[in-house]
């Protein structure tokens, strides 16, 4: 039996969730037990702080972001959830010890480029794919 919904589902909004805000069943960004719903969080990798600017020409660092938060039933459309994740979170409700909740993970990643010197003083430009989280969701 699914836990009775504590409040009416908010009107389904059809705009895509802002990458850093994934509203779940509750208006605010907090799921059950006060944990945040799955969403993107800021994580800045600073080459400056790591002391690498003597050979990294650009950038000074980059925003990598990370995903964290609850994937609690019901995973409505705003949580970028796969169908499988919806079923898994339902089964988790029925058998919490047997099946874990779905995971909050990146659903879209983009690249970042780094310009640096190699040991022969040649200048190298390397594009690293899948290094920046663009959106999170439940998988």
């Amino acid at each position: 039996a699914v836990r009775s919904l504590r409040r009416r589902l908010p009107k389904k909004s059809n705009e895509l969730p802002q990458p850093n805000k994934l509203p779940g069943i509750f208006d605010d960004a907090h799921g059950s037990h006060g944990r945040q719903v799955c969403r993107r969080h800021e994580l800045y990798v600073s080459f400056q702080d790591l002391g690498w600017l003597d050979w990294v020409i650009a950038p000074q660092g980059y925003s990598a972001y990370y995903c964290e938060g609850e994937c609690s039933f019901p995973l409505d459309s705003c949580m970028n959830a796969t169908n499988h994740a919806i079923v898994q979170s339902l089964v988790h409700l029925m058998k919490p010890d047997a099946v874990p909740k779905a995971c909050c993970a990146p659903t879209k990643l983009s690249a970042t480029s780094v310009l640096y010197y190699d040991s022969s003083n040649n200048v190298i430009l390397r594009k690293h794919r899948n290094m920046v989280v663009k959106a999170c969701g439940c998988h």
């Binding site: 702080d49 690498w52 650009a58 310009l115």
Partner: protein, 244 residues
């Protein structure tokens, strides 16, 4: 990182990384980013700190590539967008056969290819040399051809492999870009061998011209106008190059 980090849930002791752990962490991120794991040599002397041609060109390329980082995963447009790695090679040695020597005259450039990482496919390679307006009464039209030095011969001319030909006017000024992609097939075979590129200039009627007299700048040019080579790579499971 430098940004606002999320506060750990109450009761979770915030653990500071020890110096050794921090070094390990840095090494891990360096490995992911493919960066050399050690600081650059001491800052070069003041003269060498002037902006050099290769870093200036690569910085422009960086801004262009960083601009389309967000489109990652989209259809791979040609050229820059398909490249995972762009390497610039500063010219190491320059041999000139100029006036006073037998003809034909040429300029030869050498590049150290040992830094080229294994497993990358060359999608394009270009040699860039700056040309000033020629100050000598030369024919208006000049033909600049570029060859790869395949094998030096003791008692005769070296074996050469044709790469590119560009036609320009004696009074032209600016960067001349010669396509040397065809030379990259040989790089995969003998990576530890320097790449030799030989440049010839001829007039319309086939007479050999000293490249320096035609206004082509070599190693003695100001740093921001010295010749260099740029190579575009794409990670590939198999080392053979995709035909352009």
């Amino acid at each position: 990182g430098g940004g606002p980090s999320p506060h750990p849930p109450a009761g979770c002791p915030q653990r500071r990384l020890g110096p050794r752990e921090r070094r390990d962490l840095q090494r891990e991120i360096l490995a992911v980013l493919g960066l050399p794991g050690r600081p650059r040599p001491r800052a070069p002397p003041a003269a060498a700190r002037l902006p050099a041609s290769a870093p200036l060109f690569m910085l422009d390329l960086y801004h262009a590539m960083a601009g389309d980082d967000d489109e990652d995963g989209g259809p791979r447009e040609r050229g820059l967008g398909r490249a995972d790695l762009v390497m610039s090679f500063v010219n190491m040695v320059e041999l000139d056969r100029t006036l006073g020597h037998q003809e034909p005259h040429w300029k030869e450039f050498r590049f150290d290819l040992t830094q080229i990482p294994a497993g990358e496919t060359v999608t394009a390679a270009e040699f860039r040399i700056y040309k000033l307006p020629s100050t000598h009464p030369l024919n208006r039209t000049l033909h600049v051809s570029m060859f790869e030095v395949v094998r030096e011969q003791a008692n005769r001319e070296s074996d050469l492999f044709f790469l590119d030909l560009q036609t320009l006017r004696a009074e032209d000024e600016g960067w001349l870009v010669l396509d040397v992609t065809a030379a990259s097939d040989r790089w995969l075979l003998n990576r530890n061998k320097d790449l030799g590129l030989r440049l010839f200039v001829e007039t319309e009627d086939g007479r050999s011209v000293d490249p320096g007299l035609a206004g082509l700048l070599g190693r003695r040019a100001p740093r921001s106008k010295q010749p260099f080579m740029v190579t575009f790579f794409r990670e590939s499971p198999n080392p053979t190059r995709v035909p352009r």
